[in-house]
Symmetry: C2
Subunit: 122 residues, 2 copies
Amino acid sequence: MAPRLRLRLRFDDGAYIGPGKADLLALIAETGSISAAAARMGMSYKRAWSLVEVLNAMFAAPLVASVRGGAHGGGAHLTETGKAVLATYGAMQANADAAAATDIAKLLALRALASRTCGSSS
Amino acid sequence: MAPRLRLRLRFDDGAYIGPGKADLLALIAETGSISAAAARMGMSYKRAWSLVEVLNAMFAAPLVASVRGGAHGGGAHLTETGKAVLATYGAMQANADAAAATDIAKLLALRALASRTCGSSS
DNA sequence: CCTCGTTATGTTTGGCGGGAAATAACGATG
DNA sequence: CATCGTTATTTCCCGCCAAACATAACGAGG
């Protein structure tokens, strides 16, 4: 099942990183291109680029390094910082999801009662 | 410091519960009124009410029971299901936050380097 | 030097979510 | 039966985000 717990980490200055930016980072790492990653996520290039701009500005060093022009027009790849952020975000998500599993199950149960509406009243 | 990790739990049908709805539930429980809770959160009554409507529809039973008219005009309170959802969400948040603490610290460190301009690479 | 694909950036437009305000329903209480 | 404060619901309007479109810069390589 798709990852159901979505995490957004908010920093004290209002900047935040969430699933959208994390997925974008992962796709940039995979495709080596901002435009290709944007296409994969079904978003416009401009939006993807603006997210990259924000990401690059909110950490100590840029997360994405891009090259303009050249053999195939250019490309983009993750810096060491970018890889570290992506990996850490993934780990955080996994850890949080595991820790919340029982509570998620409880909430799911509170919801599931609805589907049972057949015949048996409470 | 304010809780920095925000959780949004997405169900398979697209419905979700996040910090906003959870806070609203808590304030309704505390104030006994939708309008008072809305005022506390700095949102319009209409928005609060629509959130309550969504919350009531997305679980097996309504989370908020409201009374119209009467001595003081009416009011609202959490049902047993509502209390359970609120408590479980709070527990989930606490558990997830604890589990993610070390990763959060890592990300914070990746950000803080900006202030420290420290040269030592990994 | 021309092509090509990508990054980088500006401008415009449209949709839609939310806010504000107005209104109705409601029911204990005096 | 008038009052009162809250819930419930509609309508209108505006601001903002983002999509769409347009364009420039860039640089390896044929």
